[in-house]
């Protein structure tokens, strides 16, 4: 009997040992490891925007946080930036289409890692985060605030006036346009602090690059297979490149142009027109960077006919926590996003060469793997404490 028990224990031990030695790690090639490495490290260094004099300053960030939650900036006194960009909803609102004074044609984009971008908005009409922050304040369909309202509020509200003076080193003056820009700069300083936490992917990436197979093997096999697809046959990383999983540019991925019968959303094409017409672009007088270095993209960007129907390539960190998806919220779930790329109609996409977007024809297992990988880019976020007072 004892011999039998001993044999059973030995057999169990052997089975465990066999299980442990079979490393659940794909055989990654050098080229693949190099590709994976390009998606980190994370987090990147904090943002410092030279076009924004209060970028990265504690007083500018604090003022921005108060303004971000300030409904008096809106025309009806009921809507703040935080109405659509909710901290508890990953800085979006969970709606298919944003709801301002009226329902809009596009989805509220998440603000995670927004400070690292160089084009802003789905169409890139903003070339700085502060310029982009002006648009919803003024847009009659969104907050409908108006330049004068912003200036009046900053001058007349004692706490905001004090916070403004701390941030900008002067009392709010009578130049309403300047106060509007400064408000947007404080808002941008705050938003640039929205850096998403490290994820299971980051742990895997760092372990893989360090040659720590044990730690790398903790990353689920389905996510590994999905990652291999992402950087391999599916070529998702052609556009979803780099630590934020976006190259920051624009693409047409086969989402219908029409917003209603007879009306189209021209995307990047219209965004470039608005950029050229904006008094708040980096080529204008409100850019705090005297060198003009940070305006290089704006100076050299060109309007191409292929920009029609292109929209900004979103970053993928925290992507599984968001949704609906695409610029117009037309795709409900992450599984549906993968299905879109698997079945996209090639006739809808115009390309003279090898198309960047093509039907991937994924099997159910491959689709599940890709979703598993995408979900490994998510991380839980601790609750935000309330903002301290501006001038205690």
């Amino acid at each position: 009997m004892i011999r039998l028990l001993l044999a059973l224990v030995l057999a169990a031990t052997a089975a465990t040992a066999t299980g442990a030695s079979a490393q659940p790690l794909l055989d990654w090639t050098e080229e693949e490891v190099r590709s994976i490495g390009r998606h980190g490290p994370w987090p990147p260094p904090p943002v410092r925007d030279p076009s924004n004099r209060v970028s990265g300053t504690p007083s500018g960030i604090l003022l921005g946080e108060h303004l971000f939650n300030e409904p008096r900036l809106s025309g009806n006194g009921k809507m703040s930036c935080a109405t659509c960009h909710q901290a508890g909803r990953d800085w979006s609102d969970g709606l298919a289409r944003a709801q301002g004074v009226v329902e809009l044609d596009r989805r509220t984009p998440s603000l995670w890692n927004v400070g690292y971008s160089h084009w802003f908005g789905w169409d890139g009409a903003g070339d700085s985060l502060w310029a982009q922050s002006i648009r919803p304040l003024l847009d009659a369909r969104e907050m409908n605030g108006g330049t004068e309202r912003v200036g009046t509020l900053l001058r007349n509200d004692r706490a905001l006036a004090c916070g403004y003076e701390k941030a900008f080193g002067r009392k709010p003056g009578n130049d309403d346009e300047l106060l509007l820009v400064d408000t947007a700069k404080a808002l941008a300083a705050f938003q640039a602090t929205f850096v998403s936490p490290r994820t299971p992917f980051d742990d895997f990436r760092d372990a893989l690059l360090a040659g720590d197979r044990g730690a790398a093997a903790r990353y689920p096999m389905s996510a590994q297979r999905g990652l291999r697809l992402f950087i391999g046959n599916a070529s998702c990383n052609a556009c979803h490149f780099g630590p934020r999983f976006t190259n920051g540019e624009f693409g047409d991925i086969g989402i219908p142009f029409f917003v209603r019968p007879g009306e189209v959303d021209s995307g990047r094409l219209g965004g470039l027109t608005r950029l050229a017409e904006s008094p708040f672009s980096l080529l204008g007088k409100f850019n705090d960077d005297a060198t003009g270095e940070n305006a290089r993209r704006t100076r050299h960007v060109r309007r191409l006919h292929t920009n029609f129907g292109e929209f900004r390539v979103p970053g993928l960190r925290q992507v599984g926590r968001g949704g609906p998806y695409m610029h117009n919220g037309s795709v409900a779930t992450l599984e549906d996003v993968v299905k879109h790329y698997s079945e996209v109609n090639p006739d809808r996409l115009h390309s003279d060469g090898v198309p960047l977007v093509r039907p991937l024809a994924l099997s159910p297992d491959q689709s599940a793997d890709l979703v598993a990988f995408l979900r490994s880019l998510d991380a839980d976020v601790p609750p935000r404490p309330a903002a301290p007072p501006l001038c205690p």
């Binding site: 190259n247 920051g248 050299h300 060469g353 198309p355």
Partner: protein
């Protein structure tokens, strides 16, 4: 990419005919492209080109016959996908005879073909060079 950087030095050493054309753009790095009539030496600034990051090219354009040559345009495209850059490079001639093409951005990894339109008198030509961005 480092392999390309040494190409300039190797080519200069192996081709005495190029000695009249100042192809050394400093820093010991760069590329050289040439045709029957033209030679172009160029290097990126910053030296390492990153996906999605603006960069410039510092160039020297020469003719093999010693005639003055002019750089007309610099463009880049991904031949596989047949798309160009989203940005238009601006060319500035420096007093030292060199050119600077400012405002290039390669927004995707892969093969990019840079093309240079050059002219000497009535003769113009397009030269090109491929780089692989990873």
């Amino acid at each position: 990419m480092r392999r390309f950087f040494v190409a300039l030095m190797m080519l200069m050493g192996a081709t005495p005919a190029l000695a009249d054309c100042p192809l050394d753009l400093g820093r010991g790095t760069g590329w050289v492209v040439f045709s029957d009539h033209y030679m172009i030496a160029f290097r990126p600034d910053p030296v390492r080109v990153e996906v999605g990051e603006p960069f410039a090219l510092v160039l020297n354009v020469c003719t093999k016959g010693g005639d003055p040559a002019e750089l007309i345009a610099v463009e880049a495209q991904m031949p596989e996908h047949k798309h160009s850059m989203n940005y238009k490079a601006a060319i500035v001639a420096s007093p030292n005879g060199r050119y600077r093409a400012e405002g290039l951005v390669f927004h995707m990894p892969g093969r990019w073909e840079i093309s240079f339109d050059v002219r000497a008198g009535e003769e113009s030509e397009r030269l090109s060079h491929d780089i692989i961005l990873k």
